[in-house]
């Protein structure tokens, strides 16, 4: 996977720099003194703020959307700074070049990259400030700095000398930032690797945590926006007379994406919006429906340009010819919405050519640059503050609602909070694209695969979002396409098809469709060979110790091969994603087509872990997210209109449907892997394989609804 990782990184780096000019290059003020109630604050580097009253604030350059970076990023800094993690404060970074995510080439939270990007950088950031504080103390006491050490917020010296970080901060912040610093041997870690209590939990159990929807600016008014029912459509005319006469309505304004009602309260704006009459040019998507999306994708699979994923191995065509048996299958992963619980919203205050933006975003750099561009103002006149995110999952990488809020505030000249309804959110998403996977294998006389041909046809989010040139491999469509199994002849191909849908990155992105296909197919091959799916996989992992290890651990923990109560069956699946090696076993029963997932066992090797408790939480989270995807969710359209509007027709797993989870984490000294996403993708084939084992019927199109299972 390393070549894909590299190309993904290089691509985003060059594209954002070349096309958007998004790197703003204004770092936090170095050593600038700010008078605050909390004391006078010093910033020795971009990661650590120290007030002279000893309040220490550590910076998270990543947005907190549930995945725990509000705790894990400061843990990495605190490990080297030598401060008590429970005593520090946390701030989310503003847009600035220093906070760019090197794995994605932009200031983005996504792709399960936060720990992987921050692992060394944040420890260096903490160590730099520690060394600066020690130097400041050495200068003050006129002693050799080698006689000093930093511990628990204090610099300690000979003869019992001690000085708090706060008392040294002013002097330390004037010193040059050391280029080279020594980092601890991981065996000496005191914070990293511990089950540290999340720092955001207290605020999230008493209503004080500030999400975007909770932002309040002085004089703020509220907006609700009517957008074209067909995504991409434009306003041709509108009549706001009736809406303007309704209680609390202050103004009705047209912006690029629609018509916004601005009122003294959200409810007044929302109610008056229903009184609008808007005429639309529905645009090219007005004739689109999900049947056409599938038909177009299938046609493209036959005739579209084929882009190789990696290099073919051996000679697939020859090996297929000589095979004792050929097995073919086609798998379909439907379009899906993100459905984060906090509907899209942002607060904007435009005044005298400057704008303040406050809200939930995964893409500070994009919001900053795009709003400046759309409003025609200088980047330095855009101030962006990030709140907690009520879920992200990729939806808050998009900037549509931020631009809308900015344009509405500019039009009415007041601070405005724009809030979408759930229906707005569901029908105006950037949807996970449909995935069509066609897989074929040749088996030898013993039923073992001698050749594998894999083709995925889907839509490129990267073309839309970052201007990836046509006929170029999109690495975010090829994830988990090449599985671990040792097969002598393999070929993996990608076909990119623009279906006309507005598509977006969705938790685990293309791991979802590709792992569903690969791992379902592996079970189909085992069945064709008359072999146990676990043993069949193991036989193909002789030189893949990390894969084999997690597969074995998951199977053992789940009691693979042990008897089950009547009506229950297990399914197994294996994948690498985000440098994390993972196996899962799902245990299900099926009654009248209705799937119950009783238990999911996960074994994960993600190298070094920052906070194992958060790792477990992310795996639990991913299982629920992936289970909703596997069993319940599909976006369909009629005349360009998305038909799912709320959680009644786009369900999410609820408490009574949530399975028990058993999680085995491998102790490892490998470099850290990402954990926010992989289990989301892998639970889908684990469930699908268990359902096939339980029913004897293979369903190759998701979701596995009762209807789909009964018809199989």
């Amino acid at each position: 996977m390393s070549t894909l990782e590299t190309s993904r990184r290089d691509f985003l780096k060059t594209s954002t720099l070349a096309t958007g000019g998004l790197i703003m290059g204004f770092a936090l003020p170095g050593a600038k003194v700010e008078a605050q109630a909390a004391g006078t604050v010093y910033t020795p580097n971009a990661w650590v703020h120290i007030a002279d009253n000893n309040t220490i604030t550590l910076i998270s350059a990543r947005s907190e959307m549930g995945q725990g970076v509000y705790t894990s990023m400061p843990m990495l800094i605190a490990e080297e700074l030598n401060v008590d993690i429970q005593q520090i404060k946390v701030a989310i970074a503003p847009p600035a070049a220093v906070y760019v995510n090197a794995l994605l080439g932009a200031q983005i939270t996504g792709g399960s990259t936060s720990v992987r990007d921050g692992w060394e950088k944040l420890r260096v950031g903490g160590a730099q400030v520690r060394e600066m504080l020690i130097s400041a103390a050495a200068d003050k006491w006129k002693v050799d700095r080698s006689t000093l050490r930093a511990e628990n917020g204090m610099v300690l010296g000979p003869k019992g000398r001690r000085a708090s970080y706060g008392s040294l901060a002013a002097a330390a912040a004037k010193l040059p930032v050391p280029e080279k610093v020594a980092l601890k041997d991981p065996k000496d870690f005191k914070i990293v690797g511990q089950r540290v209590k999340r720092l955001d939990t207290p605020a999230k159990v008493n209503g004080t945590a500030e999400f975007g929807i909770d932002v309040k600016l002085p004089g703020m008014v509220y907006a609700s926006i009517e957008q074209c029912p067909v995504i991409g459509g434009k306003v041709t005319s509108f009549d706001a007379a009736k809406a303007k006469g309704m209680p609390g309505v202050l103004d009705v304004v047209q912006v690029n994406d629609g018509v916004a009602v601005v009122a003294s309260s959200y409810w007044q704006a929302q109610k008056a919006r229903k009184a609008l009459s808007v005429q639309w040019d529905e645009g090219p998507s007005a004739a689109l429906d999900h049947h056409k999306v599938l038909a177009g994708t299938r046609a493209a699979a036959d005739s579209g340009k084929v882009l190789p994923i990696g290099k073919p191995v051996g000679n697939v065509a020859e090996a297929m010819k000589g095979a004792a048996k050929v097995v073919k299958a086609e798998y379909i992963s439907p379009m899906q919405a993100h459905a984060a619980l906090e509907p899209m919203n942002f607060t904007a205050h435009y005044k005298n050519g400057k704008i303040l933006l406050v809200g939930p975003t995964q893409f500070q750099q994009g919001a900053h640059g795009t709003v400046a561009g759309v409003l025609g103002i200088k980047p330095e006149d855009v101030t962006l503050k990030t709140t907690f995110l009520g879920g992200g999952f990729g939806r808050r990488l998009e900037l549509d609602f931020i631009v809308q809020a900015a344009q509405i505030s500019k039009a009415v000249g007041r601070p405005v909070k724009l809030l979408w309804s759930r229906e707005d959110d569901m029908t105006h998403d950037f949807y996970r694209p449909l995935g069509l996977n066609q897989v074929q294998a040749g088996l030898d006389a013993q039923g073992m695969p001698v050749a594998l041909q894999f083709k995925v046809t889907s839509q490129s989010v990267t073309q839309r979002a970052f201007g990836l040139p046509k006929d170029t491999l999109d690495p975010f469509m090829a994830e988990a396409a090449v599985a671990a199994y040792e097969i002598p002849n393999t070929q993996h191909d990608l076909v990119i098809h623009d279906s006309g849908m507005r598509v977006g990155y969705w938790r685990a992105v293309s791991h979802n469709m590709n792992a569903f296909a690969n791992e379902s197919f592996m079970d189909e091959l085992a069945l064709a060979a008359g072999k146990d799916p676990y043993a069949y996989r193991m036989a193909l992992l002789k030189n893949k110790p990390r894969f084999a290890n997690v597969l074995k651990l998951a199977a053992e923990k789940a009691g693979w091969g042990q008897p089950l109560p009547a009506g229950r069956a297990r399914g197994i699946a294996l994948m690498e994603g985000y440098d994390t090696y993972m196996a899962q076993v799902a245990e299900v029963s099926v009654k009248d087509g209705q799937v119950t997932v009783h238990r999911v066992t996960v074994a994960a090797d993600l190298g070094r872990m920052v906070n194992p408790d958060t790792v477990e939480a992310q795996i639990q989270s991913s299982i629920a997210f992936g289970m909703s995807s596997a069993l319940m969710q599909e976006i369909t359209l009629d005349k360009g209109r998305v038909l799912q509007t709320n959680y009644n027709n786009y369900p999410v797993v609820r408490m009574h449907e949530s399975p028990n989870t058993d999680i085995v984490l491998v102790e490892s000294t490998e470099k850290p892997g990402g954990i926010g996403e992989p289990a989301t993708a892998l639970v889908v084939p684990a469930i699908a394989n268990a359902v096939a084992a339980a029913t004897g019927k293979r369903v190759r199109k998701l979701p596995l609804t009762p209807e789909a299972i009964r018809q199989a």
């Binding site: 939990t201 159990v205 209503g207 409810w267 408490m655």
Partner: protein
Amino acid sequence: MSIKLNVNGRAVAAKSEPDTPLLWVIRDELGLTGTKFGCGAALCGACTVHVNGQPVRSCQTPVESVAGKKIATVESLSRNNTHPLQKAWIKHDVPQCGYCQSGQLMSAAALLAKNKNPSDADIDQAMSGNLCRCGTYPRIKAAIKDAAASLRNA
């Protein structure tokens, strides 16, 4: 014209139009933003508050329908996280994004007010109206049991 309510033990006179959902009176007029908006259709439970002790979806409750009644929001549990449910939520590090948790806590509080020894089925029954997109259900369940135990031993 105003509608008299008792919110978290405080008498308030709501000035919003009578058909305004209680959710928006609580959030925008009274400034108690712990209660969240998720679906506007009583499908997700993020807006759960208590009306005279019963859990209700405030997004579907016109303020005029609760005139004179006692409303309790997440802020009423405690400001300093001393309520047994808040303590249990912290112990189990339940929240992820946290957006649904106010509603989860209020549904759990209503459950424990009438049942201090809930079974798994009781918990499923009481909590199935509260969505968590982050899937914190296993921890919610564990935290409810923990809080119930501490209430029984109190």
